[in-house]
């Protein structure tokens, strides 16, 4: 065994900075405290400079270095001031007398390292016993670990024989042994500063023969935010110590606390056995798994590519579902959904677990395959709170899809059952919109009401109720919900305003159609026209594969099965029934028509459909799918801009709203509703003079918004006074 010591040199350096004019005992005391501050920068002392020359990098540099035991005394206490001039063989004799060959050998190695010129006895077992019986007793107590009693025995003998001095070797060993006990106790109690301090004070503890102490000191460094020193300590072991099991345990312990990069540096110290096996091979797989697992919890952690590759290899060859799972959860937070999906699928193929399904569902949700996400998670929905959340997210997303997708009755039923069981307001609300999209307003009402019951402040559900009441001409229901939400939702308050005659005058009547500025449907469809299935608790589509002879559009069919002209007719029918998303799909087919007129009408219709659905961007795209006559082009442009202005205002971008309104004004006179929007936008921007001008103009024509706006301005200025 290489008998070297490591010194925590910074600690030694720190000692020299304290003043010399204090009483001795104070200096001693300062010394013990200053050790704890070894990290603090200290003034350069000659000693330090000397150390820097000898390769130690600086005060705060890694402190493990090898020194000769004789370079300085291990201890400075009074009891050990007496150093042995000759080699003290009393321990040797003691161990020999006990026949303790292991300790005897260790002692011989130790003495050889300390005193290179010393020649060990040829037959150590023949070394004569200590003739000093009292000293023999002391060694005996020492060997039994009864250190306090050794102290007592020494003190007693010194009282009885004032001239007697304990062997320096005994004192050294005793001091080190007590320090070891204390260090281990402190380490067990997580008193890491104490551990570091004792380690600094007792460099002779920090050797390969005390690997456990080295481990504890390394951990203490780490726990006291000195990760580099911890790495240095582990490095020291791997650089100097030979015991294979201890080396392996060192890497395991280091890997348990150090970041991957540091562990990688330590692994580089791996040795190759004569048979070619690598000494750390057995733990590399586990390490790789651990690094990837850690990176799962922290999306910012970077796993060295070779570890990722190792786990990938394991997942592909070893057949453990958990390895594939690790990789799925590694890629997911890093946004690599394709890779994540691949690994989650692999894990799930091996073993369908909640975790694999959850991960897969998240990737499916991300790529908007909500139907598959729902299906994946259904079985695991009750596995955990997270699993339930993922399932409900999938259901809410599924129902919110634009355009709505066909969902089987069975799936809708199980979603509904789960939503009711979980009292999930979010999916309930989406059920409402879904039912509306499928033109089942009564069902929509039920779901919106249910959602509101579970989440009293769910404004979107209240809004859903309001627009559905309006659609059904249930003015009592509408005014009731508007009363409940007065002052809490502007858009709920505004539901039905488009009906106002002064507004209607300004709207552009085209194809018996008013352009809806908001997503809310207009009221041209009377309630009698609305078909809904009273039997159904939930909205259920009835997909049909054949073209219906039905010339109306009550049923849901795939417009792809229709001729373009028929699809165009169906599109307008659906618009009348306020099913804009289905209408848009029908118009899409219409655009395949052979006549320019059909294509123009279809593009126009789709544009209107998207506008009604609140998708002005899509509307703008549709508008240019076929050339439009001047009037329609103008009208569409106006409608699209108006929609954008409202959307900008709703999103709090008042400046942008005004810019769009200015654009609108250039192509035609400003509508009253948009004028009032302009007024509110000015108000938000605190352009009070402009706002006042607008509201006064509106008020002059008896517009309620104008009066309200003026009222607000009045309040603002009164409050200011």
């Amino acid at each position: 065994m290489k008998s070297t010591f490591i010194a925590l040199s910074a600690a030694i350096v720190a000692i020299s900075v304290f003043g010399m004019n204090k009483p001795d005992y104070i200096k001693h005391a300062m010394r013990s405290l200053s050790l704890a501050d070894a990290e603090e920068p200290v003034a350069l002392s000659p000693r330090l400079v000397q150390q820097s020359d000898s390769g130690v990098i600086g005060v705060n540099a890694p402190v493990f270095r090898e020194i000769k035991r004789s370079a300085r005394p291990v201890l400075d206490t009074v009891v050990t001031a007496a150093t042995a001039a000759t080699v003290d063989e009393s321990a040797l004799r003691y161990f020999a007398s006990r026949g303790d060959t292991a300790r005897l050998q260790a002692e011989i190695s130790r003495l050889k390292a300390l005193y290179p010129d010393w020649v060990p006895p040829k037959d150590p077992l023949a070394v004569p016993q200590n003739e000093d019986k009292q000293l023999e007793t002391m060694w005996d107590l020492y060997a039994q670990g009864r250190y306090a009693e050794v102290r007592k025995a020494i003190a007693e003998r010194q009282i009885a024989e004032p001239a007697w001095k304990p062997p320096a070797d005994l004192i050294d060993r005793l001091t080190v042994a007590e320090a070891r006990t204390r260090l281990i106790n402190a380490s067990d109690l997580k008193q890491y500063d104490t551990v570091v301090r004792i380690g600094s004070e007792t460099p002779s503890l920090l050797t390969c023969s005390e690997v456990d102490v080295l481990w504890r000191v390394a951990e203490a460094f780490f726990r006291t935010d000195k990760a580099q020193r911890a790495t240095d300590a582990y490095s020291y072991i791997l650089n100097n110590c030979q015991n294979a099991a201890e080396r392996l345990a060192t890497v395991q312990k280091a890997a348990a606390i150090l970041p991957a990069k540091s562990v990688e540096d330590l692994l580089a110290k791996e040795k190759t056995a004569p048979d070619g096996t690598m000494e750390f091979d057995s733990i590399r797989d586990d390490l790789a798994r651990r690094f990837v697992a850690e990176a799962n919890a922290d999306g910012k952690l970077v796993v060295p590519p070779q570890y990722l590759a190792r786990v990938e290899h394991l997942a592909e060859t070893g057949g453990l579902a958990s390895d594939a799972l690790l990789l799925g959860w590694y890629h997911l937070p890093r946004g690599d959904m394709e890779a994540a999906e691949k690994w989650f699928r692999k894990a799930r193929d091996k073993e369908d677990t909640a975790s694999a399904s959850q991960g897969l569902a998240l990737t499916l949700i991300d790529r908007n395959d909500q139907l598959a996400a729902e299906d994946t998670m259904y079985r695991w929905r009750d596995d955990s709170k997270d699993a339930k959340a993922v399932y409900l997210a999938a259901t809410a997303n599924l129902l919110a899809l634009e355009p709505p997708v066909a969902i089987s009755g069975e799936v809708l039923k199980r979603i509904a059952a789960e939503v009711i069981k979980s009292r999930d307001a979010s999916t309930a609300q989406q059920f409402g919109w879904y039912a509306r999209a499928l033109n089942q307003p009564q069902t929509a009402l039920q779901w919106f009401r249910t959602a509101l019951g579970w989440k009293l402040d769910d404004e979107p559900s209240a809004y859903g109720l309001a627009v559905t009441y309006q659609q059904l001409d249930d003015l009592n229901g509408l005014s009731e919900i508007q009363r409940l939400w007065a002052g809490r939702s502007e858009r709920i308050a505004k539901v039905g305003e488009v009906e106002k005659p002064e507004m209607a005058n300004r709207q552009l009547p085209v194809a018996n159609e008013t352009v809806a500025v908001r997503r809310q449907p207009r009221t041209v469809v009377t309630s009698q026209d609305v078909e809904y299935d009273q039997q159904e608790q939930v909205a259920v589509t009835r997909p049909r594969r054949t073209v219906s002879a039905d010339r109306g559009c009550k049923s849901t069919i795939n417009p792809q099965t229709l001729a373009p002209e028929a699809a165009l007719t169906r599109g307008w029918c659906l618009m009348e029934r306020n099913r804009p998303m289905e209408a848009a799909a029908a118009f899409e087919v219409g655009m395949l028509g052979s006549s320019a007129k059909t294509r123009e009408d279809a593009a126009y219709g789709q544009s209107l459909a998207y506008l009604r659905a609140g998708l002005s961007a899509k509307a703008a795209v549709s508008a240019i799918k076929a050339p439009q006559n001047r009037q329609r082009a103008f009208e569409l442009q106006q409608a699209i801009l108006a929609d954008k202005a409202v959307a900008a205002f709703d999103a709090g971008r008042s400046r942008e709203a005004i810019l769009i309104l200015d654009q609108l004004r250039q192509i035609g006179p400003e509508r009253t509703d948009l004028l009032s929007l302009r007024g509110y936008a000015y108000l938000r921007l605190k352009r009070y003079a402009d706002a006042r001008r607008v509201f006064e103009a509106l008020a002059a024509i008896g517009n309620r918004d104008g009066q309200r706006g003026l009222g607000i301005l009045y309040q603002i200025f009164n409050d200011k006074d």
Binding site: D24, Y25, I26, H28, A29, R31, S32, L33, T77, V78, V79, R146, Y147, A148, E149, R151, K152, A153, I154, A155, E156, I159, E178, T181, R182, N185, A186, D188, L189, K190, Q191, Y192, D193, T194
Partner: protein, 350 residues
């Protein structure tokens, strides 16, 4: 300032017990046979003082008492033994204070890493005394480091008062609704001048004067007594969660006062009169009723009462109390402290 503190130091240390004359140095204040009997019963061969009334656990207070008694008995070997155990088994906290509780039945033996400030004070105080007495710089160094930790972690200033928290955590205004909470019996007045030598700070003298002032104000219940645990909210009150009693903690207060040479007649008289139980024995007192709870017949408790009588009324301590026979760890410890006080009085109470 310096002169005053030195005077306090001398009053507390040299004139009281140790080394004022060569003769005193050779005459331990605790007789060898008494110390021998104490050790035989309460000192484990490995150096720990056993609290035999509490499941044979050890604690920093017991180790501190053991160290102090070793000094008073003039026994450096026992001091070395107890110190080695204390240092390796309790003096582990990163802040330099001692863990308070050591249980032989558990592993790790330390079951609560919190400290008990009176234990820390006793250990540092004994180290200071022993370091001077036996010229051991390592004792001085260790004592100084504990004294500094006491200042750093447990001595606080609140509205002009310097206070001693019973532990580094759990008793401050932040830790408790009725905090800060103190234990007046943790004020070991005789130690402060020694601690000031170890870790010079004006706080020690302030602890002494403010401690005496607080004792002057602690007049709860019909008997006008302090409680073991006191809330320093305004007005001062028995701390919540502890029995409102002049209990086994507080009964040390008079002993600590007289040992430190504090002879405030009003205070001592009030404590003496308030703590009489049946048959004139020393007793723990229920604060609200003023009635005795436990009548303390153990000579270790009894001697406190008689020392008070001696200091206040010059009444001699009865002969039978001057004989030491170990009973239980706590009263026997107080007994030896009482006897060493009588020995230092040089006949006044004999």
């Amino acid at each position: 300032m310096r002169g005053k503190l030195l005077a306090a130091f001398l009053a507390g240390l040299f004139s009281f017990c140790l080394a004022s004359t060569p003769a005193a140095a050779q005459q331990p204040l605790i007789a060898a046979d008494a110390w021998q009997a104490y050790k035989a019963k309460f000192l484990d061969p490995g150096g720990r003082i056993i609290d035999d009334a509490n499941g044979n656990i050890s604690h920093s207070e017991g180790q501190g008492y053991g160290l102090l008694l070793s000094v008073l008995a003039g026994n450096p070997a026992d001091f070395e033994l107890i110190w080695s155990f204390t240092r390796t088994e309790l003096l582990l906290r990163s802040d330099g204070l001692a863990a308070w509780k050591w249980n032989p039945a558990t592993k790790p033996h330390v079951t609560d890493i919190n400290n008990a400030t009176d234990g820390d004070i006793l250990i540092a105080y004994a180290l200071g005394l022993a370091g001077k007495q036996w010229n051991r710089p390592d004792y001085i160094k260790n004592g100084a480091s504990i004294a500094r930790a006491i200042l750093d972690k447990t001595v606080i200033q609140i509205s002009g008062r310097t206070l001693l928290l019973p532990a580094a955590t759990g008793f401050s205004a932040k830790d408790r609704d009725d905090g800060p909470v103190i234990n007046p019996s943790y004020w070991i007045f005789e130690a402060f001048p020694v601690l000031d030598q170890l870790a010079p700070s004006p706080a020690w003298e302030k602890l002494r004067t403010d401690g005496i002032a607080i004792l002057g104000e602690l007049r709860f219940g019909p008997k006008q007594l302090p409680t073991d645990w006191v809330s320093l909210t305004s007005p001062l009150a028995p701390a919540t969660g502890f029995p409102a009693e002049f209990g086994y903690n507080a009964l040390r207060i008079p002993l600590y006062l007289v040992r430190a040479g504090i002879t405030d007649r009003d205070l001592l008289t009030r404590l003496m009169r308030g703590t009489f139980g049946a048959n004139g024995e020393y007793a723990t007192i229920d604060i609200s009723s003023g009635l005795p709870k436990d009548n303390l017949s153990d000579p270790g408790y009894q001697i406190i009462n008689h020392i008070l009588a001696c200091v206040v009324n010059k009444t001699a301590v009865p002969e039978d109390l001057k004989q030491f026979a170990p009973t239980r760890y706590y009263p026997s410890t107080l007994h030896l402290l009482g006897l060493s006080f009588i020995a230092a009085q040089q006949r006044e109470c004999s």
